[in-house]
Symmetry: C2
Subunit: 338 residues, 2 copies
């Protein structure tokens, strides 16, 4: 028995940290299905006397067959509230499906959320009970997952300390600034291609950041929605084409709406309706580009196995900046100055 | 007894949805401290026979005195594993502090996380037991809180449906684009003040988005860290001055580092070391402005009772865009063209 326990503990170490096996405790108390609740209580009293205390967060026992194969869950609430002559098989809950040890932690969290479990059994590939996961560990997974998403969007590690020494913080954040600098310099290079046009018509320099920024904002909305959809397993290969069509539609509707307004603003501001037209058209194109890129970027990153929360924003801004500047300055060069 | 139960249910409705009272169930099973576990089990069996089933997620019972005042928690694991003659008082856990009904849901979630509770008692202002909160409801709070933070940064509601009709989605997202358009137009107006300078030196138009964007990126890092710190109750009035000093330090270190590099790039690119100098100086100032604004904006918004996750990003970008353009173009006008 002691040897068996030790083997179980060894087992725990072998699973990846972010899997069901890594999350589980090996201290699951298990009983057979054919015994009575009287026998179960006698067993528990004996266990407690020997061990000194019950395993933490024991709200239920696991029911197994003679080969330690998982059968169901026996809530302690049933043990205390049912007649002692009842058998385990009569009251155990067979609907709680066991979690396979290699199941990713994120999916374990989703299972707990969907089923409102307090604890759940973990089995190996043969269906043998090897441990249990309790909801308190799942809570940590959920919190860390959310934290990582929020932090990595700003290029931060989730364990960053606000009150760390200045030099430590500066160095850890610096890489992200460097990545974004490369981005910004590429956009600057695109603008540089149109220096002659800007020299001839300075209004272009005034309006071009508006086109880039609106594309970025529209794209960030799509990126956020699609990234969340991927995390919640709502985006499949089957519906991603439909998703793309919807996002493109949203981009065109909102692009057109705001394009009309900004075209009017630019026409009045600079007294030039052709400039207004070019501005509006570039806006439609870049807002559409934003929603399209915001949808495609996380889909492609997922296919490549890269976390969209970290790299998604950078790629998106690169795309909406470059396209925004190029389309606006390009159209202006052809139509206004050609 | 039936009347008492109904009163309890009425009570539940009276609490704000996002408070402990709003989260709790009124079906907490309570026992007296002076009875034996034998009596407890008899009571539970009778309860189950009458009610047909036990309250969901019952991992423990609440212990109260004769005036229904909360005393402690009795885990079912103790009820089943201790000798029947033991009294409740001997085995109950007095360390679980009751949650006051008006406690905000967010703080309830933090308490559950910190103490790894599966359930916890809720009391009214007189310390009377009025219900219990189970961890499955807390999991929902944590998930929603994280979701709201991520979504509201992109101006999205957390209940937005990816597959809603195009017009519905377009309208719900449009407001955010409008807010950001106002932002972008203000920045454009600032650029417009320097039209003459740009006409004289087009390189300014090429480089100015780099200054604005780097300030925004540095600021977003500070904003993300400080907003999270506020949510985790790590930012107090006492340490916010120190936080501000650290962030300003990080901004200056990283600003100086990247300024040296971009100054070199601009000098080589445009063959003008004075332009490089102005570019680098503007970069230091705007990256410093970014970290300072990224720290101050959430602190001020919190003071005003506004959610920093929603309004923080917009305000920050407005500040880093306006300051970035104004400082770079202003310095250039004075030093390069004066």
């Amino acid at each position: 028995m002691d040897l068996q326990r030790r083997e179980r503990f060894e087992g725990v170490r072998a699973w990846p940290e972010d899997s069901a096996g890594g999350l589980m405790d090996a201290d699951a108390l298990s009983v057979r299905a054919d015994v009575t609740l009287y026998v179960v209580q006698r067993y528990l009293r004996r266990y407690r006397r020997r061990a000194g205390e019950m395993p933490e967060h024991t709200d239920s026992l696991m029911v197994v067959d003679s080969g330690n194969r998982y059968l169901g869950v026996l809530p302690l609430a049933e043990v205390v509230a049912r007649p002692q002559s009842t058998t385990v098989a009569e009251v155990m809950n067979r609907r709680v499906e066991a979690i396979e040890a290699f199941t990713p932690a994120r999916r374990v969290a989703r299972l707990f959320e969907d089923h409102d479990w307090l604890s759940a059994p973990v089995v190996d590939s043969e269906g043998q009970l090897i441990g249990r996961i309790t909801v308190d560990d799942v809570v940590d997974v959920i919190r860390e997952e959310a934290d990582r998403t929020i932090m990595s969007r700003a290029g931060l590690d989730e364990d960053m300390d606000m009150f760390a020494p200045v030099m430590t913080s500066a160095m850890r954040r610096s890489v992200w600034l460097g990545v974004n600098l490369v981005n910004a310099l590429i956009a600057a290079w695109v603008i540089g291609l149109f220096e002659a046009s800007i020299a001839e018509r300075v209004a272009l320099a005034v309006l071009m950041p508006v086109v880039a920024s609106m594309g970025g904002v529209a794209g960030t909305q799509s990126l956020t929605l699609v990234t969340r959809g991927i995390a919640l397993d709502q985006v499949t290969r089957a519906n991603s084409r439909r998703l793309l069509a919807i996002e493109l539609g949203v981009g065109l509707v909102n692009g057109l709406f705001w394009a009309l307004i900004v075209a009017g603003v630019a026409t009045v501001w600079f007294g030039d309706w052709m400039l207004g037209l070019v501005f509006g058209l570039a806006m439609v194109i870049n807002v559409g580009n934003g929603t399209l890129s915001g949808t495609l970027v996380p889909l492609v990153l997922r296919r490549l196995g890269i976390d969209p929360a970290l790299a998604g924003g950078v790629l998106l801004v690169a795309l909406t900046d470059v396209v925004g500047f190029a389309v606006f300055l390009g159209l202006a060069t052809i139509w206004l100055l050609g």
